[in-house]
C-alpha cells in the first residue's frame, strides 16, 4: 500500500469512462508531419548538418535524426515518417509560441533508417551504454514535463539513487493513455524499469498506479510477482497524485525538500510511457518517433486512445478520431488541469502531448471572477501548502517581493487552487505571472 497520503489535492470528476476500455489504435503515418526542434526541457535542437544535411528537399527515413544539440540537457529529434523535407521554418507549437520546425511530406513507404537495430541484451549493457541509448533515442519524460530521460539517469556521483519510481498515476481527468499502456505494454514497462534500475545502480523499482485503475494494478502486479526488487504501489486516487513530489511521498514516504530534485532523496521517477520508450530503444533500437495519447471530450465524435507519430497535426489526429462536432468550444493539448488551450488544430503533436481534449460549452466558458472571500479553500487544496490567494494577490498588485516571500517559486502549477476557488479567481494564472516576474528579476 501507499506509504503516505499527501495533504491537499482535489477530487475532480474523472471522466475517463469513455476511453478507459478502448484498445490503443495505431494511427497510420500521416501524409505530412511538422516536427518542432524544441520538444523537451533544455536547449532547442539544431538541424543535423553532418552526414545527411537536413534542408529543404532532403530525403529522410523513419527514425533518422534530424535535430540535435551538443548541450547535456537536450534531446535529439528524429523524423517520424519517410519522405521529403518540404519546409523549414517557424510553426505553431502547443506552448502557444512559434518554433522552428521541419515539415516532411511522407512518401507513404514508411521506410526505416537502416541504422536502427537492436542494441543488445540488457545484461550486457553498461549503465553508460543505457544512458547513451536513451539519449540517442531522444527519450524525454512522456508524462508531459519532457525532461530528457538520460539526464535523469545520470545523477551526480555524490547523490546515490536507491529507488526508481514508475509513474502510472495518470491523475489528470479524461486521460487514459497511460492506463492503456499499463494494460497493453506492461512487459515493456517492467523491462524499461529494469534498464533504469541498472543505469542508476538503484536497489528497487516501484510502479505507482492510482487505485481507480484496478485492472492496470492487477496487470502490473501479476507481472512483477516474480521480481525480487520491483513492487507495485496502489496510490490514493486524488489529483495531483502524479506530481513528482506527491508520488514520491506516496510511494516511499520521503519528502523532496522545496526547490530540490527527487535525487536529493535518492529517487528518480519516470512515466510509464517513458519506460516503454526506453525498452523499445534498447530492444529494437527505435527512437522516440511516436507516442500514445487520448483523444477525448464531449466534442469528439469518436473518443479513442491512439498511437500517433510525433509531428502529426492535431487536425489529422482529430479527423482520424471521427472529427469534432459543432459544440466545440475549447481545444486542449494535454489534460484539463494542466493542458494548454489551443487557438486552432493546426499544431503538431509533440513528445509531451498526452492527449487532445475537445470541450463543449458545458465545460468551456469564460468565467467572471468576484473578489476573494478568503474562504481558504485554495490553502487547503494546495498540495505543497502554499497560500495561493495571498501569492495571487501579491502578484496582482505587482508586489513580487511579497510573492517570493510567500514561496511563489514552490508552486508547480497543478491548478488545484483555481479549481476550488468559489470566487472563480484564476489563482494559478496570477501565481504563474508572479513566478515569471520573480525569475526575470533574478536574471537581471
Amino acid at each position: 500500500m501507499a506509504k503516505a497520503k499527501f495533504a491537499g489535492g482535489i477530487h475532480p470528476e474523472y471522466m475517463k469512462e469513455s476511453t478507459s476500455s478502448l484498445d490503443i489504435v495505431q494511427m497510420p503515418p500521416p501524409q505530412k508531419v511538422v516536427i518542432p526542434m524544441q520538444q523537451h526541457i533544455g536547449a532547442p535542437c539544431e538541424l543535423v548538418t553532418e552526414v545527411k544535411k537536413i534542408e529543404k528537399g532532403a530525403e529522410v527515413k523513419v527514425g533518422q535524426k534530424i535535430g540535435d544539440h551538443e548541450g547535456f540537457v537536450s534531446s535529439p529529434i528524429h523524423s517520424s515518417v519517410s519522405g521529403t523535407v518540404t519546409d523549414i521554418g517557424l510553426y505553431n507549437h502547443p506552448m502557444g509560441t512559434k518554433v522552428t520546425a521541419v515539415t516532411i511530406e511522407s512518401d507513404g513507404r514508411d521506410e526505416w533508417d537502416e541504422n536502427i537495430k537492436p542494441q543488445g541484451d540488457l545484461n550486457d549493457l553498461s549503465a553508460e551504454e543505457i544512458r547513451k541509448i536513451a539519449r540517442e533515442a531522444g527519450i524525454v519524460g512522456l508524462g508531459g514535463a519532457t525532461f530528457p530521460a538520460h539526464v535523469k539517469l545520470s545523477p551526480p556521483s555524490d547523490k546515490p539513487i536507491d529507488v526508481v519510481i514508475i509513474n502510472g498515476a495518470e491523475c489528470e481527468p479524461y486521460l487514459t493513455a497511460d492506463h492503456r499502456v499499463m494494460l497493453e505494454k506492461s512487459e515493456e514497462i517492467v523491462y524499461g524499469l529494469k534498464a533504469m534500475i541498472k543505469a542508476l545502480g538503484a536497489e528497487k523499482g516501484i510502479i505507482g498506479v492510482e487505485d481507480n485503475k484496478p485492472d492496470a494494478l492487477q496487470s502490473m502486479e501479476e507481472l512483477v510477482s516474480e521480481e525480487e526488487n520491483i513492487t507495485v504501489c496502489p496510490l490514493n486516487t486524488k489529483y495531483p497524485q502524479g506530481a513528482e513530489k506527491m508520488l514520491i511521498y506516496a510511494a516511499t514516504g520521503r519528502k523532496v525538500p522545496p526547490g530540490a530534485l527527487p535525487l536529493e532523496v535518492g529517487v528518480v521517477n519516470h512515466n510509464v510511457g517513458t519506460s516503454v520508450a526506453l525498452s523499445e530503444a534498447i530492444r529494437e533500437g527505435k527512437p522516440l518517433i511516436e507516442r500514445v495519447l487520448t483523444v477525448t471530450g464531449a466534442a469528439v465524435n469518436k473518443p479513442s486512445n491512439l498511437k500517433v507519430r510525433i509531428g502529426t497535426l492535431a487536425s489529422d489526429v482529430i479527423d482520424f478520431s471521427g472529427g469534432l462536432n459543432e459544440s466545440l468550444h475549447k481545444l486542449i493539448m494535454g489534460g484539463p488541469m494542466m493542458g494548454l488551450a489551443q487557438p486552432g488544430a493546426d499544431v503538431p503533436i509533440i513528445k509531451g502531448t498526452s492527449g487532445i481534449l475537445a470541450l463543449t460549452a458545458d465545460d468551456a466558458y469564460l468565467i467572471e471572477s468576484s473578489p476573494c472571500i478568503r474562504c481558504s479553500k485554495c490553502v487547503s487544496a494546495c498540495p505543497v501548502q502554499l497560500l495561493p490567494t495571498s501569492i495571487a494577490q501579491a502578484s496582482e498588485h505587482g508586489d513580487y517581493k511579497r510573492a517570493e516571500k510567500l514561496y511563489a517559486l514552490d508552486c508547480f502549477e497543478c491548478g488545484c487552487c483555481s479549481y476550488v476557488c468559489p470566487s472563480k479567481i484564476p489563482l494559478v494564472q496570477w501565481i504563474r505571472i508572479g513566478k515569471a516576474e520573480i525569475m526575470n528579476r533574478k536574471r537581471k
Binding site: 487557438p343 486552432g344 472571500i373 490567494t389 468559489p422
Partner: protein, 324 residues
Amino acid sequence: MIKIYEKLIVSSSPHIRSNESVQSIMLDVLIALFPAALMAVLLFGYRALITMVLAVGTAMIVEALWLRKRDVFSDGSAAVTGLLLAMTLPAAAPWWLTVVGSASAIIIGKQVFGGIGYNIFNPALVGRAILVVSWGGHMAGDIWPSPQPFAFGADVSAVTGATVLSVPEKAVMLSLPEMFIGNMAGCLGETSGLALLIGGIWLVYKGHIDLRIPVGFIGTIFLLGLVLGGGFYGNHLMTGLFHVLAGGVMLGAIYMATDLVTTPVTPNGRLIFGIGCGLITMAVRFWGTYPEGVTYAILIMNAFTPIIDNFTIPQRFGEVNESA
C-alpha cells in the same frame, strides 16, 4: 471543418472548475442557520420571525440599493449578514432597531470597505455593536424576553428575565440540558446550543468552516471557565460547560468567528484566532463591565487577522524546521 475552430476559447489552465460558488456557500450557511432560526421561532414566537425577516430583507435591499443592482439576493452574503444580525437581537426588538442594525451592518460593516471580501470586521457584529452602544436599553441582557416555548402568538415582551450571564445566580435554576436546548433568556439565535451545533456540523461537512476556530474558541472558554469559574455550581466541570452554553459563545464560535472574509486563512492562524476570541470573551465576562464579551472578542480578533496571517505562513511541503 475549419469553421468550428472560430469560436474557440483560449484561456489559462485549469480548464475545469468545481461547482462551488460564493452563492452556493452562502446558501449552505443559510441552511446551517435554519435549525437555530426554527428554535428561535419555537422559543420566542412570531416576534422572532418578524425580526429575522426584517433583518434579512433590510440587508438585501440596502445592499442592492448601495450597489445599484436589481438582483436583491445576488451572492447571498447580505442575507447571511441580515440573518446573523437577527440572531443577536432580543426577541422584543422594536422594528426600527432591527432595520437600523441591519442597514448599519451592510453599509458601515461591509460596503464602505469595498463590499464582499474587503471588509475587516464581521458585518453582523458591527451592526450589533452599533446597536449596543446606541440603544443600550434595548440591547442590555438584563431585561430580555424569556422564552415561552411553543406559544407562537404570545407577546414575548410581557415576560422578561435576565440572561444567565447578567445575573449568574439565576443560572443555578437552569439545568445544563435545558441551556443546551435553549430554554433561557437571550438573543434569538444564541440560546440553543443544540440547534447551532447541528448547523455547525453541516458546515464542517460541507468544508465551509475550519474546526480549528470553533474548537479553539469553545475549548478556551471551557478551560478558562473550568479554572477561573470556581463554580457557583460547586463543580468546575459544570461551570466550564456553563460558560460554553451561556451567552453567545456557540453562535459566535460556529457562525461569526468562522466568517470567511474576516478571519485568517492559515491553519495555525485560525487556531490562534479561535483561542484569542475565547481569551477576550472570558476577560470581558470576568473583569469587564459588560456581562458578555463575544461580540467584542470577535471584532478585536478581526482587527488582528492580517497580522496573524503574516506570522503563520505554513511550512511548505518537505520543508524541514531548522530548530527541530
